[in-house]
């Protein structure tokens, strides 16, 4: 990405994101119809599902960037991987918070150890471990190599989370989107869902830019500190 595009993204993304969020919440609360059986609590769906999709996307970015780092050895891929991992965790924590808040009035329980919920919690813990590992290793090259290995292996849980409600009988609802015959969304609900997805994706892009910038500064700081420290 050119420097000009990078700077333009920095200037435009906050405004685009704010506009998309306003439209998304307007559509979700004032235009989308209320679901017949669950009532208003179903509106949690519009933040829960897009957040889950964006966390999958973020962990996919970690996977690709980790592979690229191991193939090229360029630090920028490691910066991209850690940035995406942290943002993926932000979205995954939204999934794990909004899910139980929806489940309690609908199922009567906050949590159950079914395949979807358990594999999502495992996904969250994998990327917490990824960040903890990075903090524990001080040598940048060793840290990047170890983190890349975890970033690649950890991604294996994403298809398991996605397919869990297709492979196993779960308390979690069966797929509404891409779920085959009998599944699907009302066109008005689709509109709410797509606006939320666009707003959260724009937020992801903004976060990514800012987090990547932070990682670049950290790398510069570490390199200067190494130059300054007395050699044995």
């Amino acid at each position: 990405m050119g420097k000009r595009t990078w700077n333009l993204a920095g200037a435009l993304l906050p405004a685009i994101t704010a506009a998309l969020l306003l439209i998304a919440f307007y559509v979700v609360f004032l235009e989308v119809p209320t679901e017949r059986t669950m009532g208003v609590i179903q509106r949690i769906f519009y933040v829960h599902v897009p957040s889950a999709w964006i966390s999958f996307f973020a962990f996919f970015v970690v996977f690709v960037s980790s592979l690229a780092y191991l193939a090229t050895g360029q630090a920028r891929w490691d910066w991209a991987a850690v940035s995406a991992a942290e943002i993926g965790l932000v979205y995954c924590s939204i999934v794990l918070t909004t899910g139980p808040l929806w489940a309690k009035p609908v199922w009567g329980i906050w949590w159950t150890w079914d395949a979807r919920l358990t594999s999502t919690l495992v996904l969250f813990m994998i990327y917490v471990a990824y960040l903890l590992l990075r903090n524990a290793v001080s040598d940048p090259s060793r840290r990047a190599n170890l983190a890349a290995a975890v970033g690649i292996i950890g991604f294996l849980d994403v298809p398991i989370v996605y397919m869990s409600i297709r492979w196993w009988r779960t308390q979690h609802p069966q797929p509404v989107i891409a779920g085959g015959a009998g599944s699907g969304l009302d066109p008005e609900m689709w509109r709410g869902f797509l606006w939320c997805l666009a707003a959260f994706l724009s937020l992801f892009a903004w976060y990514f830019r800012e987090r990547y910038r932070m990682e670049r500064m950290r790398a510069e700081l570490e390199s200067l500190q190494r130059e300054m420290s007395p050699r044995p």
């Binding site: 808040l101 932070m214 200067l224």
Partner: protein, 45 residues
């Protein structure tokens, strides 16, 4: 209804918390970097 409120409140709080983490993290790194560059210049003198 109460859970719907808390779900959307949680979404906002998590995002605001992360924005704060990004802003404070960038400021700290930028201050540390400026201080280190200054000490490099002073050492070279």
């Amino acid at each position: 209804m109460r859970n719907l409120f808390w779900a959307y409140a949680a979404v906002w709080l998590i995002h605001l918390g992360y924005l704060f983490r990004l802003a404070s993290g960038q400021k700290k790194l930028s201050d540390d970097l400026a201080a280190l560059k200054k000490s490099v210049v002073e050492r070279e003198r």
